[in-house]
Protein backbone atom coordinates (compact mmCIF):
# COMPACT_ATOMS: atom_id res chain seq x y z
CA UNK A 1 0.00 0.00 0.00
CA UNK A 2 2.78 2.40 0.90
CA UNK A 3 4.50 1.37 -2.31
CA UNK A 4 1.45 2.44 -4.25
CA UNK A 5 1.12 5.66 -2.29
CA UNK A 6 4.72 6.58 -2.91
CA UNK A 7 4.32 5.85 -6.62
CA UNK A 8 1.17 7.95 -6.86
CA UNK A 9 2.79 10.84 -5.03
CA UNK A 10 5.69 10.60 -7.41
CA UNK A 11 3.29 10.72 -10.36
CA UNK A 12 1.45 13.76 -9.04
CA UNK A 13 4.72 15.56 -8.49
CA UNK A 14 5.77 14.69 -12.03
CA UNK A 15 2.52 16.05 -13.46
CA UNK A 16 2.97 19.26 -11.52
CA UNK A 17 6.49 19.68 -12.94
CA UNK A 18 5.30 19.05 -16.46
CA UNK A 19 2.47 21.54 -16.14
CA UNK A 20 4.90 24.19 -14.91
CA UNK A 21 7.34 23.58 -17.76
CA UNK A 22 4.63 23.50 -20.43
CA UNK A 23 3.13 26.65 -19.08
CA UNK A 24 6.50 28.35 -19.05
CA UNK A 25 7.50 27.25 -22.53
CA UNK A 26 4.20 28.05 -24.19
CA UNK A 27 3.87 31.39 -22.46
CA UNK A 28 7.41 32.42 -23.30
CA UNK A 29 7.06 31.52 -26.98
CA UNK A 30 7.09 34.78 -28.94
CA UNK A 31 3.68 35.87 -30.13
CA UNK A 32 0.19 35.11 -28.83
CA UNK A 33 -3.28 34.46 -30.11
CA UNK A 34 -4.16 38.13 -30.42
CA UNK A 35 -1.11 39.14 -32.45
CA UNK A 36 -2.90 38.28 -35.65
CA UNK A 37 -5.83 40.47 -34.66
CA UNK A 38 -3.44 43.31 -34.08
CA UNK A 39 -2.45 43.17 -37.75
CA UNK A 40 -6.09 43.37 -38.77
CA UNK A 41 -6.84 47.05 -39.50
CA UNK A 42 -10.54 46.53 -38.81
CA UNK A 43 -9.91 45.76 -35.14
CA UNK A 44 -8.78 48.62 -33.03
CA UNK A 45 -5.76 48.34 -30.77
CA UNK A 46 -7.98 49.12 -27.79
CA UNK A 47 -10.16 46.09 -28.50
CA UNK A 48 -7.10 43.86 -28.70
CA UNK A 49 -5.77 45.26 -25.45
CA UNK A 50 -9.17 44.76 -23.82
CA UNK A 51 -9.30 41.15 -25.00
CA UNK A 52 -5.79 40.54 -23.69
CA UNK A 53 -6.84 41.95 -20.37
CA UNK A 54 -9.98 39.87 -20.35
CA UNK A 55 -7.92 36.70 -20.75
CA UNK A 56 -5.35 38.05 -18.29
CA UNK A 57 -2.54 37.86 -20.82
CA UNK A 58 -1.28 41.21 -19.52
CA UNK A 59 -0.66 39.86 -16.02
CA UNK A 60 2.80 38.67 -14.91
CA UNK A 61 3.60 35.01 -15.60
CA UNK A 62 3.72 33.64 -12.00
CA UNK A 63 0.32 35.16 -11.28
CA UNK A 64 -1.13 33.58 -14.40
CA UNK A 65 0.34 30.19 -13.55
CA UNK A 66 -0.96 30.33 -9.99
CA UNK A 67 -4.35 31.32 -11.32
CA UNK A 68 -4.36 28.50 -13.84
CA UNK A 69 -3.15 25.92 -11.32
CA UNK A 70 -5.86 26.88 -8.85
CA UNK A 71 -8.48 26.36 -11.53
CA UNK A 72 -6.81 23.20 -12.85
CA UNK A 73 -7.06 21.48 -9.48
CA UNK A 74 -10.82 22.02 -9.71
CA UNK A 75 -10.81 20.55 -13.21
CA UNK A 76 -10.97 23.83 -15.12
CA UNK A 77 -8.13 24.12 -17.57
CA UNK A 78 -8.63 27.63 -18.86
CA UNK A 79 -10.36 29.05 -21.88
CA UNK A 80 -9.75 28.41 -25.57
CA UNK A 81 -9.40 31.62 -27.56
CA UNK A 82 -10.03 29.91 -30.87
CA UNK A 83 -13.04 27.80 -29.84
CA UNK A 84 -14.31 30.50 -27.49
CA UNK A 85 -15.19 27.85 -24.94
CA UNK A 86 -13.67 26.28 -21.80
CA UNK A 87 -10.77 23.92 -22.56
CA UNK A 88 -11.69 20.96 -20.35
CA UNK A 89 -14.83 19.68 -22.14
CA UNK A 90 -13.08 20.21 -25.47
CA UNK A 91 -10.17 18.07 -24.33
CA UNK A 92 -12.28 15.33 -22.79
CA UNK A 93 -13.80 14.35 -26.12
CA UNK A 94 -10.45 14.43 -27.90
CA UNK A 95 -8.70 12.58 -25.10
CA UNK A 96 -11.33 9.86 -25.19
CA UNK A 97 -10.67 9.33 -28.90
CA UNK A 98 -6.92 9.24 -28.39
CA UNK A 99 -7.32 6.76 -25.55
CA UNK A 100 -9.49 4.57 -27.74
CA UNK A 101 -6.63 4.38 -30.24
CA UNK A 102 -3.72 3.98 -27.86
CA UNK A 103 -5.33 1.48 -25.51
CA UNK A 104 -6.40 -0.70 -28.42
CA UNK A 105 -2.96 -0.41 -30.00
CA UNK A 106 -1.16 -1.13 -26.72
CA UNK A 107 -3.27 -4.18 -26.11
CA UNK A 108 -2.91 -5.51 -29.65
CA UNK A 109 0.82 -4.92 -29.95
CA UNK A 110 1.58 -6.71 -26.67
CA UNK A 111 -0.80 -9.49 -27.56
CA UNK A 112 1.26 -10.04 -30.72
CA UNK A 113 4.69 -9.23 -29.32
CA UNK A 114 4.64 -11.73 -26.45
CA UNK A 115 4.08 -14.94 -28.41
CA UNK A 116 6.22 -13.77 -31.33
CA UNK A 117 9.10 -12.75 -29.08
CA UNK A 118 8.97 -15.94 -27.02
CA UNK A 119 8.75 -18.04 -30.16
CA UNK A 120 11.69 -16.20 -31.65
CA UNK A 121 13.73 -16.69 -28.48
CA UNK A 122 12.97 -20.40 -28.40
CA UNK A 123 14.38 -20.68 -31.93
CA UNK A 124 17.27 -18.36 -31.08
CA UNK A 125 19.79 -18.13 -33.91
CA UNK A 126 17.96 -20.60 -36.12
CA UNK A 127 16.18 -19.88 -39.39
CA UNK A 128 12.72 -18.81 -38.06
CA UNK A 129 14.35 -16.47 -35.56
CA UNK A 130 16.55 -14.93 -38.21
CA UNK A 131 13.62 -14.35 -40.57
CA UNK A 132 11.57 -12.68 -37.84
CA UNK A 133 14.54 -10.61 -36.69
CA UNK A 134 15.15 -9.34 -40.20
CA UNK A 135 11.48 -8.49 -40.54
CA UNK A 136 11.44 -6.52 -37.30
CA UNK A 137 14.67 -4.77 -38.26
CA UNK A 138 13.13 -3.77 -41.58
CA UNK A 139 9.97 -2.47 -39.87
CA UNK A 140 12.10 -0.62 -37.36
CA UNK A 141 13.82 1.51 -39.99
CA UNK A 142 10.59 2.60 -41.72
CA UNK A 143 9.61 5.97 -40.26
CA UNK A 144 6.17 6.11 -38.61
CA UNK A 145 5.13 8.80 -41.05
CA UNK A 146 5.93 6.65 -44.08
CA UNK A 147 4.04 3.78 -42.49
CA UNK A 148 0.96 5.89 -41.88
CA UNK A 149 1.06 7.38 -45.39
CA UNK A 150 1.54 3.93 -46.94
CA UNK A 151 -1.52 2.59 -45.12
CA UNK A 152 -3.49 5.64 -46.19
CA UNK A 153 -2.57 5.03 -49.83
CA UNK A 154 -3.64 1.41 -49.40
CA UNK A 155 -7.01 2.58 -48.05
CA UNK A 156 -7.53 5.03 -50.90
CA UNK A 157 -6.56 2.53 -53.61
CA UNK A 158 -8.58 -0.40 -52.31
CA UNK A 159 -11.50 1.44 -50.73
CA UNK A 160 -11.61 -1.23 -48.02
CA UNK A 161 -11.21 1.22 -45.20
CA UNK A 162 -12.43 4.75 -44.60
CA UNK A 163 -9.55 7.19 -44.94
CA UNK A 164 -10.22 9.33 -41.92
CA UNK A 165 -12.48 10.44 -39.16
CA UNK A 166 -13.91 8.69 -36.16
CA UNK A 167 -17.21 7.43 -37.61
CA UNK A 168 -19.25 7.76 -40.79
CA UNK A 169 -21.61 10.68 -41.30
CA UNK A 170 -24.57 8.34 -41.09
CA UNK A 171 -23.40 6.95 -37.75
CA UNK A 172 -26.45 8.04 -35.79
CA UNK A 173 -28.82 6.14 -38.06
CA UNK A 174 -26.96 2.82 -37.72
CA UNK A 175 -27.98 -0.08 -35.52
CA UNK A 176 -25.81 -0.95 -32.50
CA UNK A 177 -23.98 -3.69 -34.34
CA UNK A 178 -23.40 -1.50 -37.39
CA UNK A 179 -22.12 1.24 -35.12
CA UNK A 180 -19.46 -1.04 -33.68
CA UNK A 181 -18.52 -2.23 -37.14
CA UNK A 182 -18.29 1.33 -38.43
CA UNK A 183 -16.10 2.41 -35.54
CA UNK A 184 -13.86 -0.66 -35.92
CA UNK A 185 -13.41 0.04 -39.62
CA UNK A 186 -12.43 3.62 -38.90
CA UNK A 187 -10.03 2.51 -36.20
CA UNK A 188 -8.41 -0.21 -38.30
CA UNK A 189 -5.93 1.99 -40.15
CA UNK A 190 -4.64 4.19 -37.34
CA UNK A 191 -4.42 1.22 -34.98
CA UNK A 192 -2.52 -0.80 -37.59
CA UNK A 193 -0.12 2.09 -38.11
CA UNK A 194 0.49 2.36 -34.37
CA UNK A 195 0.89 -1.38 -33.86
CA UNK A 196 3.32 -1.67 -36.76
CA UNK A 197 5.32 1.23 -35.37
CA UNK A 198 5.76 -0.28 -31.87
CA UNK A 199 5.61 -4.00 -32.56
CA UNK A 200 9.20 -4.48 -33.82
CA UNK A 201 10.67 -2.82 -30.75
CA UNK A 202 8.50 -4.90 -28.42
CA UNK A 203 9.25 -8.18 -30.19
CA UNK A 204 12.97 -7.49 -30.01
CA UNK A 205 12.84 -6.73 -26.31
CA UNK A 206 10.74 -9.79 -25.50
CA UNK A 207 13.04 -11.98 -27.57
CA UNK A 208 16.19 -10.64 -25.93
CA UNK A 209 14.87 -10.89 -22.36
CA UNK A 210 13.49 -14.39 -22.81
CA UNK A 211 16.58 -15.65 -24.64
CA UNK A 212 18.69 -14.39 -21.76
CA UNK A 213 16.90 -16.45 -19.14
CA UNK A 214 16.26 -19.46 -21.34
CA UNK A 215 19.72 -20.89 -20.66
CA UNK A 216 19.50 -20.34 -16.91
CA UNK A 217 20.17 -23.49 -14.91
CA UNK A 218 16.91 -23.19 -13.00
CA UNK A 219 14.99 -23.47 -16.24
CA UNK A 220 17.16 -26.45 -17.20
CA UNK A 221 16.30 -27.96 -13.85
CA UNK A 222 12.58 -27.49 -14.46
CA UNK A 223 13.05 -29.10 -17.85
CA UNK A 224 14.88 -31.93 -16.13
CA UNK A 225 11.87 -32.44 -13.90
CA UNK A 226 9.79 -32.92 -17.00
CA UNK A 227 7.95 -29.66 -17.50
CA UNK A 228 6.10 -29.39 -20.83
CA UNK A 229 7.93 -27.21 -23.35
CA UNK A 230 5.13 -24.66 -23.77
CA UNK A 231 4.76 -24.26 -20.03
CA UNK A 232 8.51 -23.83 -19.68
CA UNK A 233 8.46 -21.01 -22.22
CA UNK A 234 5.37 -19.12 -21.13
CA UNK A 235 5.00 -19.84 -17.48
CA UNK A 236 8.64 -20.02 -16.42
CA UNK A 237 10.86 -18.21 -18.92
CA UNK A 238 8.47 -15.38 -19.66
CA UNK A 239 7.79 -14.78 -15.98
CA UNK A 240 11.48 -14.82 -15.16
CA UNK A 241 12.05 -12.29 -17.94
CA UNK A 242 9.05 -10.18 -17.00
CA UNK A 243 10.53 -7.34 -14.95
CA UNK A 244 12.31 -5.44 -17.74
CA UNK A 245 9.31 -6.12 -19.97
CA UNK A 246 6.85 -4.66 -17.47
CA UNK A 247 8.97 -1.54 -17.24
CA UNK A 248 8.98 -1.50 -21.02
CA UNK A 249 5.20 -1.55 -20.91
CA UNK A 250 5.16 1.88 -19.28
CA UNK A 251 7.60 3.10 -21.87
CA UNK A 252 5.58 1.62 -24.73
CA UNK A 253 2.54 3.62 -23.63
CA UNK A 254 4.69 6.72 -24.10
CA UNK A 255 5.87 5.67 -27.54
CA UNK A 256 2.34 4.86 -28.60
CA UNK A 257 1.08 8.23 -27.37
CA UNK A 258 3.65 10.21 -29.27
CA UNK A 259 3.15 7.94 -32.27
CA UNK A 260 -0.56 8.50 -31.91
CA UNK A 261 -0.20 12.29 -32.17
CA UNK A 262 1.41 11.86 -35.57
CA UNK A 263 -0.90 9.15 -36.85
CA UNK A 264 -3.96 11.13 -35.77
CA UNK A 265 -2.83 14.15 -37.75
CA UNK A 266 -2.02 12.11 -40.87
CA UNK A 267 -5.21 10.05 -40.72
CA UNK A 268 -7.41 12.90 -39.47
CA UNK A 269 -8.47 11.06 -36.33
CA UNK A 270 -10.18 13.55 -34.03
CA UNK A 271 -7.90 12.97 -31.07
CA UNK A 272 -5.50 15.14 -29.11
CA UNK A 273 -2.93 15.16 -31.93
CA UNK A 274 -4.68 17.40 -34.45
CA UNK A 275 -5.98 19.61 -31.64
CA UNK A 276 -2.49 20.06 -30.25
CA UNK A 277 -1.04 20.91 -33.65
CA UNK A 278 -3.83 23.35 -34.41
CA UNK A 279 -3.56 25.05 -31.04
CA UNK A 280 0.21 25.39 -31.25
CA UNK A 281 -0.08 27.06 -34.65
CA UNK A 282 -2.82 29.37 -33.39
CA UNK A 283 -1.00 30.05 -30.09
CA UNK A 284 -4.13 28.92 -28.31
CA UNK A 285 -2.22 28.81 -25.04
CA UNK A 286 -4.50 26.91 -22.68
CA UNK A 287 -5.41 24.28 -25.25
CA UNK A 288 -1.71 23.55 -25.79
CA UNK A 289 -1.09 23.22 -22.07
CA UNK A 290 -4.22 21.13 -21.61
CA UNK A 291 -3.36 18.73 -24.45
CA UNK A 292 0.17 18.22 -23.20
CA UNK A 293 -1.15 17.71 -19.70
CA UNK A 294 -3.63 15.09 -20.85
CA UNK A 295 -0.96 13.21 -22.78
CA UNK A 296 1.21 13.34 -19.69
CA UNK A 297 -1.59 12.00 -17.52
CA UNK A 298 -1.92 9.02 -19.86
CA UNK A 299 1.83 8.49 -19.86
CA UNK A 300 2.13 8.74 -16.10
CA UNK A 301 -0.95 6.55 -15.77
CA UNK A 302 0.65 3.92 -17.99
CA UNK A 303 3.81 3.93 -15.91
CA UNK A 304 1.85 3.80 -12.70
CA UNK A 305 0.03 0.78 -14.05
CA UNK A 306 3.40 -0.80 -14.93
CA UNK A 307 4.62 -0.19 -11.39
CA UNK A 308 1.54 -1.87 -9.99
CA UNK A 309 2.00 -4.81 -12.35
CA UNK A 310 5.59 -5.12 -11.20
CA UNK A 311 4.44 -5.15 -7.59
CA UNK A 312 1.87 -7.78 -8.37
CA UNK A 313 4.23 -9.92 -10.47
CA UNK A 314 7.38 -9.98 -8.39
CA UNK A 315 7.24 -11.37 -4.86
CA UNK A 316 10.67 -9.89 -4.17
CA UNK A 317 9.34 -6.34 -4.62
CA UNK A 318 6.31 -7.17 -2.49
CA UNK A 319 8.54 -8.53 0.25
CA UNK A 320 10.86 -5.53 0.12
CA UNK A 321 7.90 -3.13 0.23
CA UNK A 322 6.22 -4.81 3.18
CA UNK A 323 9.52 -5.06 5.08
CA UNK A 324 9.80 -1.30 5.17
Amino acid sequence: MRYFLRRTLHAVFLLFGVSLLTFLFSALTPGNYFDEMRLNPQISQETVAALRAQYQLDRPLPVRYAHWLKAAVRGQLGFSFAYNSPVAPLLWVRARNTLLLTITATFLSWLLALPLGVWSASKFGRAPDRVLSSATAALLVIPDLALALGLLILAVRTGWFPTGGLVSLSFDELSAFQKIRDLALHMALPVTALVLATLPMLIRHVRASVAEVLDAPFLRAAQGHGIPHRKLLYSYALRAAANPLISLFGFSVGTLLSGSLLVEVVMSWPGLGPLLLESILARDLYVVIGSVLFSMIFLVGGNLFADLLLYWADPRIRAAASAK
Binding site: G125, F218, R220, G224, H225, G226, Y236, D314
Partner: protein, 269 residues
Protein backbone atom coordinates in the same frame (compact mmCIF):
# COMPACT_ATOMS: atom_id res chain seq x y z
CA UNK B 1 25.42 -56.59 -13.06
CA UNK B 2 23.44 -54.64 -15.66
CA UNK B 3 24.65 -51.05 -15.97
CA UNK B 4 22.19 -48.32 -14.95
CA UNK B 5 23.44 -46.05 -17.69
CA UNK B 6 25.05 -47.10 -20.92
CA UNK B 7 26.34 -44.57 -23.39
CA UNK B 8 27.50 -45.88 -26.73
CA UNK B 9 29.45 -44.09 -29.39
CA UNK B 10 27.80 -40.77 -28.63
CA UNK B 11 28.47 -37.89 -31.02
CA UNK B 12 27.28 -34.31 -30.58
CA UNK B 13 28.15 -31.71 -33.19
CA UNK B 14 27.55 -28.00 -32.96
CA UNK B 15 27.50 -25.74 -35.98
CA UNK B 16 30.69 -23.70 -35.75
CA UNK B 17 29.95 -20.01 -35.78
CA UNK B 18 26.52 -18.50 -36.20
CA UNK B 19 26.56 -18.43 -39.99
CA UNK B 20 24.17 -20.98 -41.46
CA UNK B 21 26.28 -21.52 -44.53
CA UNK B 22 29.25 -22.74 -42.57
CA UNK B 23 29.49 -26.49 -42.99
CA UNK B 24 32.20 -26.75 -40.38
CA UNK B 25 31.02 -28.71 -37.40
CA UNK B 26 32.44 -28.55 -33.96
CA UNK B 27 32.44 -31.99 -32.40
CA UNK B 28 31.78 -31.54 -28.69
CA UNK B 29 31.43 -35.30 -28.31
CA UNK B 30 33.36 -37.49 -30.68
CA UNK B 31 32.27 -41.07 -30.05
CA UNK B 32 31.90 -41.38 -26.28
CA UNK B 33 31.16 -44.73 -24.69
CA UNK B 34 30.60 -45.05 -20.97
CA UNK B 35 28.74 -47.34 -18.65
CA UNK B 36 27.77 -46.68 -15.07
CA UNK B 37 26.79 -49.41 -12.64
CA UNK B 38 23.97 -48.82 -10.17
CA UNK B 39 24.86 -47.37 -6.75
CA UNK B 40 28.36 -46.39 -7.81
CA UNK B 41 29.95 -42.99 -8.24
CA UNK B 42 31.70 -42.34 -11.51
CA UNK B 43 33.80 -39.26 -11.96
CA UNK B 44 34.13 -37.73 -15.39
CA UNK B 45 37.33 -35.72 -15.33
CA UNK B 46 38.67 -33.43 -18.00
CA UNK B 47 39.81 -29.93 -18.72
CA UNK B 48 37.28 -27.28 -19.68
CA UNK B 49 35.99 -27.68 -23.21
CA UNK B 50 36.58 -31.41 -23.25
CA UNK B 51 32.85 -32.13 -23.62
CA UNK B 52 31.96 -33.15 -20.06
CA UNK B 53 29.00 -30.82 -19.70
CA UNK B 54 27.70 -31.64 -23.17
CA UNK B 55 27.73 -35.29 -22.20
CA UNK B 56 25.86 -34.46 -18.99
CA UNK B 57 23.22 -32.49 -20.88
CA UNK B 58 22.75 -35.30 -23.39
CA UNK B 59 22.31 -37.88 -20.63
CA UNK B 60 19.81 -35.64 -18.84
CA UNK B 61 17.90 -35.28 -22.14
CA UNK B 62 18.41 -31.54 -22.20
CA UNK B 63 20.11 -31.82 -25.56
CA UNK B 64 19.72 -34.22 -28.43
CA UNK B 65 22.86 -36.09 -29.44
CA UNK B 66 23.78 -36.09 -33.12
CA UNK B 67 24.28 -39.85 -33.17
CA UNK B 68 24.95 -42.75 -30.87
CA UNK B 69 22.74 -44.10 -28.12
CA UNK B 70 22.07 -43.58 -24.44
CA UNK B 71 20.21 -46.26 -22.57
CA UNK B 72 18.96 -45.96 -19.02
CA UNK B 73 18.00 -49.20 -17.27
CA UNK B 74 18.03 -50.79 -20.72
CA UNK B 75 15.62 -48.19 -22.21
CA UNK B 76 16.89 -46.34 -25.27
CA UNK B 77 16.27 -42.67 -24.50
CA UNK B 78 16.23 -41.60 -28.15
CA UNK B 79 13.28 -43.91 -28.81
CA UNK B 80 11.02 -42.19 -26.28
CA UNK B 81 8.48 -39.55 -27.28
CA UNK B 82 7.92 -36.35 -25.28
CA UNK B 83 5.32 -37.87 -22.94
CA UNK B 84 7.29 -41.01 -22.18
CA UNK B 85 10.38 -38.92 -21.64
CA UNK B 86 8.49 -36.72 -19.18
CA UNK B 87 7.75 -39.78 -17.09
CA UNK B 88 11.37 -40.89 -17.18
CA UNK B 89 12.98 -37.54 -16.48
CA UNK B 90 12.55 -37.70 -12.69
CA UNK B 91 14.93 -40.70 -12.68
CA UNK B 92 17.84 -38.61 -13.94
CA UNK B 93 18.57 -35.34 -12.18
CA UNK B 94 21.18 -32.69 -12.73
CA UNK B 95 22.86 -30.40 -10.22
CA UNK B 96 24.48 -27.39 -11.83
CA UNK B 97 27.75 -25.60 -11.32
CA UNK B 98 26.39 -22.10 -10.81
CA UNK B 99 24.68 -21.91 -7.40
CA UNK B 100 23.32 -18.43 -8.18
CA UNK B 101 21.62 -19.33 -11.46
CA UNK B 102 20.31 -22.67 -10.25
CA UNK B 103 17.27 -21.22 -8.56
CA UNK B 104 14.41 -19.03 -9.59
CA UNK B 105 15.23 -15.78 -7.76
CA UNK B 106 11.54 -15.06 -7.15
CA UNK B 107 10.81 -18.15 -5.10
CA UNK B 108 11.51 -19.12 -1.53
CA UNK B 109 13.58 -22.21 -0.69
CA UNK B 110 10.42 -24.11 0.16
CA UNK B 111 8.80 -23.23 -3.17
CA UNK B 112 11.96 -24.25 -4.97
CA UNK B 113 12.12 -27.74 -3.49
CA UNK B 114 8.42 -28.36 -3.92
CA UNK B 115 8.48 -27.25 -7.58
CA UNK B 116 9.26 -30.77 -8.92
CA UNK B 117 6.11 -32.07 -7.18
CA UNK B 118 4.03 -29.44 -8.99
CA UNK B 119 5.64 -30.18 -12.33
CA UNK B 120 5.01 -33.89 -12.03
CA UNK B 121 1.68 -33.41 -10.25
CA UNK B 122 2.66 -35.56 -7.30
CA UNK B 123 1.02 -35.49 -3.87
CA UNK B 124 -1.60 -33.15 -2.45
CA UNK B 125 -0.82 -29.59 -1.52
CA UNK B 126 -0.28 -30.03 2.25
CA UNK B 127 1.69 -33.20 1.52
CA UNK B 128 4.04 -31.32 -0.77
CA UNK B 129 4.96 -28.82 1.93
CA UNK B 130 5.65 -31.59 4.43
CA UNK B 131 7.82 -33.46 1.98
CA UNK B 132 9.64 -30.30 0.95
CA UNK B 133 10.50 -29.61 4.57
CA UNK B 134 11.77 -33.17 4.94
CA UNK B 135 13.97 -32.63 1.90
CA UNK B 136 15.41 -29.45 3.40
CA UNK B 137 16.07 -31.45 6.55
CA UNK B 138 17.89 -34.09 4.56
CA UNK B 139 20.41 -31.60 3.23
CA UNK B 140 20.71 -29.93 6.65
CA UNK B 141 18.95 -26.67 5.79
CA UNK B 142 17.10 -25.40 8.85
CA UNK B 143 13.42 -24.47 8.96
CA UNK B 144 14.49 -20.87 9.13
CA UNK B 145 15.90 -21.14 5.61
CA UNK B 146 12.62 -22.42 4.16
CA UNK B 147 11.14 -18.96 3.74
CA UNK B 148 14.29 -17.37 2.37
CA UNK B 149 14.89 -16.52 -1.25
CA UNK B 150 18.08 -17.58 -3.07
CA UNK B 151 19.61 -14.12 -2.69
CA UNK B 152 19.49 -14.58 1.08
CA UNK B 153 21.35 -17.91 1.01
CA UNK B 154 25.09 -18.56 0.85
CA UNK B 155 26.69 -20.42 -2.05
CA UNK B 156 26.88 -23.63 -0.05
CA UNK B 157 23.27 -23.32 1.07
CA UNK B 158 22.16 -22.74 -2.51
CA UNK B 159 23.96 -25.89 -3.58
CA UNK B 160 22.36 -27.83 -0.72
CA UNK B 161 19.02 -26.51 -1.93
CA UNK B 162 19.82 -27.66 -5.46
CA UNK B 163 20.66 -31.11 -4.15
CA UNK B 164 17.42 -31.19 -2.14
CA UNK B 165 15.48 -30.28 -5.28
CA UNK B 166 17.24 -32.96 -7.30
CA UNK B 167 16.25 -35.54 -4.65
CA UNK B 168 12.58 -34.53 -4.69
CA UNK B 169 11.45 -36.99 -7.33
CA UNK B 170 13.52 -39.87 -5.92
CA UNK B 171 15.93 -40.19 -8.82
CA UNK B 172 18.22 -43.12 -9.48
CA UNK B 173 20.96 -41.16 -11.18
CA UNK B 174 22.20 -37.74 -10.16
CA UNK B 175 24.58 -35.92 -12.44
CA UNK B 176 26.64 -33.34 -10.59
CA UNK B 177 27.97 -30.97 -13.21
CA UNK B 178 30.91 -29.25 -11.49
CA UNK B 179 28.52 -28.86 -8.59
CA UNK B 180 31.28 -28.17 -6.08
CA UNK B 181 33.61 -26.07 -8.22
CA UNK B 182 32.16 -22.72 -7.28
CA UNK B 183 32.42 -23.36 -3.54
CA UNK B 184 35.36 -22.82 -1.23
CA UNK B 185 37.31 -25.71 0.27
CA UNK B 186 35.59 -26.18 3.61
CA UNK B 187 32.12 -25.95 2.04
CA UNK B 188 33.24 -28.38 -0.68
CA UNK B 189 34.20 -30.86 2.02
CA UNK B 190 30.85 -30.47 3.82
CA UNK B 191 28.84 -30.95 0.65
CA UNK B 192 30.88 -33.87 -0.62
CA UNK B 193 30.37 -35.59 2.74
CA UNK B 194 26.65 -34.87 2.45
CA UNK B 195 26.69 -36.45 -1.01
CA UNK B 196 28.42 -39.57 0.27
CA UNK B 197 25.98 -39.84 3.16
CA UNK B 198 23.00 -39.47 0.79
CA UNK B 199 24.43 -42.07 -1.55
CA UNK B 200 24.72 -44.70 1.12
CA UNK B 201 21.31 -43.97 2.67
CA UNK B 202 19.33 -43.60 -0.56
CA UNK B 203 21.26 -45.93 -2.84
CA UNK B 204 21.96 -43.22 -5.40
CA UNK B 205 24.15 -43.46 -8.45
CA UNK B 206 26.35 -40.46 -9.15
CA UNK B 207 27.92 -39.18 -12.31
CA UNK B 208 30.31 -36.63 -11.00
CA UNK B 209 31.69 -34.13 -13.48
CA UNK B 210 34.79 -32.25 -12.43
CA UNK B 211 38.18 -31.01 -13.48
CA UNK B 212 39.53 -31.65 -10.02
CA UNK B 213 41.16 -35.05 -9.43
CA UNK B 214 41.19 -34.48 -5.70
CA UNK B 215 37.38 -34.33 -5.62
CA UNK B 216 37.17 -37.27 -8.00
CA UNK B 217 39.44 -39.30 -5.74
CA UNK B 218 37.39 -38.43 -2.69
CA UNK B 219 33.99 -39.26 -4.15
CA UNK B 220 34.30 -41.70 -7.02
CA UNK B 221 34.76 -45.45 -7.43
CA UNK B 222 35.31 -45.16 -11.15
CA UNK B 223 37.07 -42.46 -13.10
CA UNK B 224 36.77 -41.66 -16.78
CA UNK B 225 39.08 -39.05 -18.29
CA UNK B 226 37.84 -36.96 -21.18
CA UNK B 227 39.91 -35.12 -23.71
CA UNK B 228 38.60 -33.33 -26.80
CA UNK B 229 35.26 -35.10 -26.88
CA UNK B 230 36.62 -38.58 -26.26
CA UNK B 231 37.12 -40.73 -23.22
CA UNK B 232 40.84 -41.44 -23.24
CA UNK B 233 41.13 -43.49 -20.10
CA UNK B 234 38.76 -45.13 -17.66
CA UNK B 235 38.77 -47.64 -14.85
CA UNK B 236 38.67 -47.99 -11.06
CA UNK B 237 39.68 -44.76 -9.35
CA UNK B 238 42.68 -46.20 -7.55
CA UNK B 239 44.24 -47.61 -10.70
CA UNK B 240 43.91 -44.38 -12.58
CA UNK B 241 45.30 -42.32 -9.75
CA UNK B 242 48.24 -44.66 -9.17
CA UNK B 243 49.27 -45.36 -12.70
CA UNK B 244 47.79 -42.89 -15.18
CA UNK B 245 48.55 -44.08 -18.69
CA UNK B 246 47.27 -41.26 -20.87
CA UNK B 247 49.18 -37.98 -21.06
CA UNK B 248 46.02 -35.92 -20.38
CA UNK B 249 45.50 -37.77 -17.12
CA UNK B 250 49.14 -37.30 -16.22
CA UNK B 251 48.94 -33.59 -17.03
CA UNK B 252 45.73 -33.11 -15.03
CA UNK B 253 47.09 -35.11 -12.10
CA UNK B 254 50.31 -33.12 -12.21
CA UNK B 255 48.35 -29.87 -12.14
CA UNK B 256 46.28 -30.99 -9.19
CA UNK B 257 49.21 -32.16 -7.07
CA UNK B 258 51.16 -29.01 -7.80
CA UNK B 259 48.21 -27.01 -6.59
CA UNK B 260 47.78 -29.05 -3.45
CA UNK B 261 51.53 -29.48 -2.96
CA UNK B 262 50.97 -32.82 -1.35
CA UNK B 263 50.52 -35.82 -3.62
CA UNK B 264 49.81 -37.80 -0.45
CA UNK B 265 46.22 -36.57 -0.51
CA UNK B 266 45.65 -38.45 -3.73
CA UNK B 267 47.20 -41.69 -2.51
CA UNK B 268 45.30 -41.39 0.75
CA UNK B 269 42.02 -41.42 -1.11
Amino acid sequence: MQPLLKVENLVKNYAAGRSARSKDKLAALDGVSLSVLPKTATALVGESGSGKSTLAHCIACLEHPTSGSISFEGIDLAALDEDQLRLLRPQIQLVFQDPAGSHNPRWTALEIVSEPFFIQGRFTKPDRAVRALQLLDRVALSRKMASRRPSELSGGQKQRLAIARSLALEPKLIILDEALSALDCSVQAQISNLLLELQSSLGLTYLFITHDFRMAAHLADQIAVMHRGRIVESGPAENILRSPSHETTQALLGATSRLVESPGVLVHA
